[in-house]
Each structure stands twice: as structure tokens, then as C-alpha cells.
């Protein structure tokens, strides 16, 4: 019923250009993100990855081009109907849990306001989601009483509460201590295996290699190379991709 258009495309970014002053961050960027698939976007910092995520989620306007979510064209969040922003959830690098609410309240808040659930329903949903990310015993903790990894898992549960069709992750583990990265990636792998569509911006190459269906290498605001993870990691065509991967791998291993 959602996917009336029939094609397998969740997010279709076409010729999108975004400038900050004289700096062109996205330069006629085009890419399709398939329904139910996990696409990992990699690239050097300043390549426009975060801006891409923010444009898709409506936090940033763009100057030219179009972004289509599930067959519907969207310009920015202001003009975007609630139902539309519910279809795509976003997880941030800087966690952004609301500090004055407990983990449970963080998750239950949006379903109550946006889906009109009553308190009991919303809390039950929130408890189930906490269980799904392995934090059922932390329901009444405030964000400051949780580790970074736990906070990010709550943030994932919060995004899931509106039953989105696609999740956009903007460097979800970059702000975490190294030993906390694994637990977040585990939750993400689990979601991916269960058919959640995901667009993941990350520097975790191991995750990209093992979990993703497609890897997109972007630099200077355009897609340089894209393809199956085996192809990108084992046989990249461009020298630039090879160089980037070499540098990243050396740093990580």
C-alpha cells in the first residue's frame, strides 16, 4: 500500500546541487537508494555525505535538483507533511536524545504526538523497542545515565517508533568510544537483516563490507564509484577509491 509506485526505489536523489556560499557541497549529485536494502556511503570528510543525509531528511534545503521519497517529491521539512517525515527516520552522530526525558519517554514521545497513541500504547511500544535494542532494563534512565552506545541504541529505537520505511544514519558511531561501537553496529546489522531499508554514512569499513548491499564512494559532492561491497572493496575501478580505502584501512587495522 505504501509502495504504490512499484519500483524498488526508496530514496531517489536526482541532480541535487547544494551550495554554502561559494562552496559547492553537492554537485549535481544523483543516487538511488533501494527499498529494504542497506546502502553504505563512504568518502573523505568534506565530501558532502552529511549534507546529503540532511537534505534527504529535510533538515537542509537544496538549490537545484529533486529528492523523491517513495515516489513523492519533497523540498524541505517545512512543506513536508508529517506523514512524509515519518517514512524516513534519522539517527545522528551527536546522539541528540532529549536529556530531560527518560529513555522510555524519548521513544514514546513522537508516537503520542504524531500518531495520536495514548500513553499506555506508546509506552508499550517503547518498551518493546527498548527490548529490541537490548535495553529493556534502562527504560527509566535519563540519557546522561547511559553510555554513548546505549544512548545511540535508544536513538535508534526512537526512530523506529514511527515505523519508518527507511533509516538514515549520519555517522552513528563516530562520536562513540571505540569499545562502544560494536553494540550499535550489532543493532544496525540486525535491522538490516530484518529487511529495514538503510542509508548509512560511516567510516566502519568492516560493517560496510559485511552488512551492506551497496557501497557508494563519494567525494567532492558527486558519486565517484558505486557497486556491490565485494566490487568496491576488492576491485575498485578508480585510483581515487583505492587510495581512500587504503588510507582508511591502514588507520583502522
Amino acid at each position: 500500500m505504501f509502495d504504490g509506485k512499484g519500483d524498488g526505489c526508496a530514496i531517489d536523489v536526482r541532480e541535487v546541487t547544494k551550495r554554502f556560499g561559494s562552496l559547492c557541497v553537492l554537485d549535481r549529485f544523483s543516487c538511488r537508494f533501494e527499498k529494504g536494502r542497506t546502502t553504505v556511503v563512504i568518502g573523505p570528510s568534506g565530501s558532502g555525505k552529511s549534507t546529503l543525509a540532511r537534505c534527504i531528511c529535510g533538515l537542509e534545503t537544496y538549490d537545484e535538483g529533486s529528492i523523491t521519497l517513495f515516489g513523492e517529491n519533497v523540498a524541505s521539512l517545512r512543506t513536508r507533511p508529517r506523514a512524509m517525515s515519518r517514512r524516513v527516520g534519522m539517527i545522528f552522530q551527536h546522539l541528540n536524545l532529549w536529556p530531560h526525558m527518560t529513555a522510555l519517554e524519548n521513544i514514546a514521545f513522537a508516537p503520542r504526538r504524531c500518531l495520536g497513541m495514548d500513553e499506555g500504547e506508546a509506552q508499550e511500544l517503547a518498551s518493546n523497542l527498548l527490548e529490541r535494542v537490548g535495553l529493556q532494563d534502562k527504560a527509566w534512565n535519563k540519557p546522561t545515565q547511559l553510555s554513548g552506545g546505549e544512548q545511540q541504541r535508544v536513538a535508534i529505537a526512537r526512530a523506529l517508533a514511527l515505523s519508518p520505511s527507511h533509516l538514515v544514519f549520519d555517522e552513528p558511531t563516530s562520536a562513540l568510544d571505540p569499545e562502544l561501537v560494536g553494540e550499535v553496529l550489532a543493532v544496525m546489522s540486525d535491522l538490516s537483516k530484518n529487511g529495514m531499508g538503510m542509508l548509512v554514512i560511516t567510516h566502519e569499513m568492516q560493517f560496510a563490507r559485511e552488512v551492506s548491499d551497496k557501497v557508494v564512494f563519494m567525494a567532492e559532492g558527486v558519486v565517484q564509484e558505486e557497486g556491490a561491497p565485494e566490487k568496491i572493496f576488492n576491485a575498485p575501478v578508480l585510483e581515487r577509491t583505492q587510495m581512500f580505502l587504503q588510507r582508511t584501512m591502514r588507520r583502522h587495522y
Binding site: 508529517r82 506523514a83 517525515s85 515519518r86 530531560h100 504526538r113 536513538a155 526512530a159
Partner: protein, 215 residues
Amino acid sequence: MEFRTDIIVANAGAIAEGVLITLLVTSFSFLVALVLGAVVGILRRRRGVLSRLLGGYVSFFRGTPLLIQLFLIYYGLPSIGLSMPRYVAAVLSLALNSAAYISEILRGALGAVPKGQEEAAQVLGLTRMETLVFIVFPQALRVALPALVNSFSSILKDSSLVSVLSIIELTRIGQLIYTRTYRAFEIYLTVALIYYVLTETVACFSRRIERALEI
């Protein structure tokens, strides 16, 4: 020289009435200032003509003496056809003066809430109003609370100035007792102590709330 406590005891009833009026004037002024300050503080977050006009208001009321503002509002405004009862003039002056400070306090506190907090609400489809009321405001209030309590104490002390409009509040009562007894030391020391106890009580109360709100 002897310390005439009997004068204070004999006038305790009148003093109590003065305290009541002081508290009423202060509370009303603070409530009005809070609402006005919140509106001005929110509107001044965006740039534009309105924001600049409000900036002019803030700057004027912070840069001129409260006593002159009182005179201007009570004695000055009637010449352009705006006259009002003394109590209204007193509350309005105190509120306008305090709102100028409170708007800056709230603007700063709103600015201290990280942008990501709003963005997290936005991507979940919450409206701007819902985001402001449920996400940004509760966090900003926590930051602003000590300064807001301070504003309350300021109004409490500044309210002694409205005695010049013949409002029979604590300071005015003190003056009246003085003109009958000429015992300045006993009377004004008592009045000062009462103000002190009131502001300290408020401060103590605020420290308790702050501790309770700590995450």
C-alpha cells in the same frame, strides 16, 4: 541611645499589610514580565525589523533608571492620553523593566540548547510549536532558572521605588511610621531585614528546585 522595639511591635499590623502589598505587586509584575520576556526573547531569535524594534525596547529599559520609567509611565503618559491607576502603572513599569532583562536571559538560554535537539524533533515530524514547547523550552528553563529567580529578587527590591506613587507597600509603610515617630534606625533596619528575609527565602527555594531538577 535605646533601641525602641516597641515601635515595631505597635506597628506590626501595618508592616504586615505593607509586606502583603509588596509581595502582590512583585508577583504580578514578575508574572507579566515572564510572559512578556518569553515572547520578546523568542521573537528576538530571528533577525528582522521586529527583532530590531524589540532590541530597542530592551536596550532602552535596561539603559534608563527604573524611577524615571515609573515617572514617565505614571505622570508622563497621561499627556498623550494614556492615564492609568497607580497600581497598574507600578506593575507595568516593574514588568516592562524586568521583561527587558528576562527576555535576554531566555534568549541566551534558548540559544544554549543544542541545534541537534530541535533537529531530532523535526525529523520525527513534530511541529515547530511542539518542538519549542516540549523539547526546547524545558531545557532552556533549566539553564535560565537561577537567573530568573534573581530577576524575581530584583523586582522585590525594586518595588520599594513604587512608594513614590503613594502605593502603601513595605517601604511606604516604613516612611509613614517614621514621620510619626522619627525613629529612622529601628524602622529602616526592620524594613531592610524584612526585604532580606524575603529575598533569601526565594533564593533558598530556588536552590532546592535546582537540586531537584539536576539530571
